[in-house]
């Protein structure tokens, strides 16, 4: 790391990369890992949407029936739900100052994104396996 960059390195960084809560690094890591995974996956998704424009239900089911498409879609959904949960969690923590409301919102986010992930994955599998 250059001399210039040392300006931004807090002494805390030297403390084994852990903050006072001992868990912050995991949140950050998962946010970045899911973000990295989503770069190729989102490009694949948009390319797929473009090539699937106006297809019938039968053609769409056949496309999702191919293992590679169903698998990539499920991985993308898992990644997006975790990324969205982590991202909106930080927004809630930053802007909601009422503790009970903050806690309620955080719990709702966990449940919402988990439930959405389950619902989408079940739907993908159902379509993929032929309705």
């Amino acid at each position: 790391m250059s001399k210039d960059n040392d300006l931004y390195v807090a002494p805390l960084k030297k403390a084994k990369g852990l903050g006072s809560a001992h868990t912050g690094t995991h949140h950050w890591m998962m946010q970045k890992i899911t973000a990295l995974a989503q770069i190729p996956l989102v490009i694949w998704l948009i390319w797929s949407i473009i090539s699937l424009q106006g297809v019938s239900y039968v053609e769409f089911s056949a496309w999702l029936g191919q293992p590679i498409n169903a698998i990539l879609m499920i991985i993308l959904v898992c990644s997006v739900m975790l990324h969205a949960k982590l991202g909106t969690q930080v927004v809630v923590e930053d802007y909601i100052t009422n503790e009970p409301l903050k806690m309620a919102k955080l719990i709702c986010h966990k449940i919402l994104f988990f439930a959405m992930g389950v619902a989408i994955i079940f739907s993908i599998l159902k379509i993929s396996f032929g309705g």
Binding site: I50, Q53, M81, T88, A119, I127
Partner: protein, 125 residues
């Protein structure tokens, strides 16, 4: 006791946000919007899993004028969030943090988002 008269940091209402700050808040706004958008993705998959009629109905909504506008804004938000997210990974390694580089990379992110959105909609035609 009299409080010490220290200078106040500028209030948001009277402070003209520099471009880097606007990019930062736009990253949040697009992020939250995309998170809300996942509800529509869930609706699409659940509808499709419910049968052909529901799939056709969702498709008719997506190809309607309002549907196309939403999809356009969706793609622009997604590309902005992606390009700025890539820049955040440089920030995380301590790069691009001085004033000049941060300012210049603002334009790379904006250009990247515009080009990717344009290419997507040209290909989609």
């Amino acid at each position: 006791m009299q409080p010490v008269q220290r200078p106040l940091s500028p209030h948001l209402q009277i402070y003209k946000l520099p471009l880097t700050a606007l990019m930062s808040i736009t990253h949040r706004i697009t992020g939250v919007s995309l998170a809300i958008g996942t509800l529509l993705i869930a609706a699409f998959f659940i509808a499709s899993a419910s049968g052909e009629a529901h799939y056709n109905f969702v498709m008719s909504l997506a190809t309607s004028a309002i549907g196309q506008i939403i999809l356009f804004l969706w793609s622009a938000a997604l590309y902005f969030h992606m390009c700025n997210g890539i820049r955040h990974m440089f920030f995380d390694t301590g790069k691009l943090l001085d004033k000049k580089k941060a300012m210049r990379s603002n334009y790379y992110v904006i250009a990247g988002a515009i080009i990717l959105t344009a290419v997507t909609w040209i290909l989609a035609r």
